[in-house]
Amino acid sequence: MIKTDKLNFEYDDGSFKLENIDINIDDGEFVVIIGHNGSGKSTLAKLFNGIYLPNSGKIYVNKMDTSDEELIWEIRKSAGMIFQNPDNQIVATIVEDDVAFGPENLAIERSEIRNRVDKSLKTVGMFDYINKPTTSLSGGQKQRVAIAGILAMQPKCIILDEPTAMLDPVGRKDVMRTIHKLNKEEKITIVHITHFMNEAVDADRIIVMDQGKKIMEGTPKEIFSRVKDVRNLGLDVPQVTLLAHMLKDEGINIDDDIIKIDEMVEKLCQLK
């Protein structure tokens, strides 16, 4: 779905750069890109969407080269993007008008827009708010409306740039549930960028970024079992993983690749 080839990127003022990034994201995958502030994860997202263009190397979205200007709208149509601040990506004053904004730009017929708006709002669970003013919504609800707005453009892939960073825990949970649902039921490829470790636990694959470089890649179990490496990067591991790790250090016979609470419960019960 998304493939980068020896990608290099530098801001005009030289303040930050991405070096030699090779990433390959398959159709239908749920990939989490993780890293702390300044690791280059948001820059990467903007490169995927053709907002920034690489200095050298290539990015292919759905086999289309992002540096080809003629393909840019096709690329943005197939890879939708959700941003961090829910307030700054809503265009219209009424929920349904905002969801319709994308399809309107694609010059889709009116009756079809109507169908898509209704369907996308139902998918994200915001159909009851269809005629509400966007300012009356909570952060999590706004973010779900933004997702519906992207969904109405029928993308193959959605890139989410820290969509939960400005939300309260309830909003965060709702958004996470929504994107997992899109991945499972609608088979949409998800690239989720975050610095919350617990949001990475259910991913198919995790990519860890640090100082503009890709430094780790693997399944959640593979990544989190390297507790020391992860913590050295200034990132957290899930609490249960840490607990398992500490138990093991104390000489208790337990796997140290536990990442979920249920798993921990099961393993603990099997101990003598």
Partner: protein, 266 residues
């Protein structure tokens, strides 16, 4: 004070006036405005009053709510009245030192005040019964013919929509910044006017910076959603003339015709 201004606010309700096509309502408002300034007799204003009261009743908006909108501009109305009363030459009916009141002045001052009141009531009725989105849509459609001479109709409408969308967001932000500054000892409420104006600088600077940041973010988000101007764009909601607009046109014609009729007779 800000809360008293009803011009530009939308009053959601279900009425025939709300249902009318915004294009028709905008044109009708213009005709109405011209009519107020064309009328010169008491009888004529009687017709205007009947017409506007009828519209307010139809719109199901409480008269009190509309009159509240007059409060902030009361000063302007009084000012216009006073200027006209004292500075119109003519037959003097009252004199005290340099102050002269003429009958023509009273007459003109009175009409000027009445006109301003009708003007405000008429225009606020337009915005009160038309949602911002419909209003901008109507303006865009009405400006469309001028596209040929280079008027960016779609862009103007989009700018209006976005500013309307961001008004509450920025108000909220102002409130937040104000509270943050007050918590650190800033004083916005006392001192001379100069001092108070100076006190606004620490409020305005962060507000501007964040507004630019928001503009930047929004532009990026709009581009990511394939926005590329008004060409080749479809719309979910399309304006349509209905029977109600036809009836509305008849009412409007009746109104203008009766104004003319009274002018002839008088």
């Amino acid at each position: 004070m800000i809360r008293d201004i009803t011009v530009g606010q939308y009053y959601p309700s279900e009425s025939t006036i709300h249902d009318l096509d915004p294009r028709f309502k905008i044109i009708a408002s213009f005709i109405y405005m011209i009519s107020i300034f064309a009328v010169e007799s008491i009888i004529g204003y009687g017709v205007v009053t009947l017409f506007i009261v009828f519209l307010i009743k139809m719109s199901k908006i409480p008269i009190k709510y509309i009159l509240k909108g007059l409060k902030p501009i009361m000063l302007i109305i009084i000012f216009a009245f006073v200027i006209n009363v004292f500075f119109t030459p003519g037959k003097v009916i009252f004199e005290y030192r340099i102050i002269k009141v003429t009958s023509e002045g009273l007459y003109r001052g009175f009409f000027m005040a009445i006109r301003l009141v009708f003007l405000i009531i008429g225009t606020s009725l337009l915005t009160l019964t038309t949602s911002p989105l419909k209003l901008t849509d109507g303006i865009e459609k009405l400006l469309n013919p001028f596209k040929k001479i280079g008027l960016p109709a779609h862009e103007l409408a989009m700018m209006m929509t976005i500013s309307l969308r961001f008004i509450p967001t920025l108000l909220e932000e102002t409130d937040k910044i104000m509270k943050a500054q007050m918590a650190r000892g800033a004083d916005f409420e006392s001192g001379s006017i100069v001092n108070r104006a100076k006190g606004l600088i620490p409020l305005l600077v962060p507000l501007f910076i964040s507004a630019f940041q928001r503009a930047d973010d929004l532009a990026m988000a709009m581009e990511a959603r394939c926005y590329r101007g008004g060409d080749n764009r479809t719309q979910l909601k399309v304006l349509k003339y209905t029977r109600k607009d036809l009836i509305g046109s008849f009412v409007l014609i009746l109104y203008v015709a009766s104004l003319f009729a009274f002018k002839m007779v008088w």
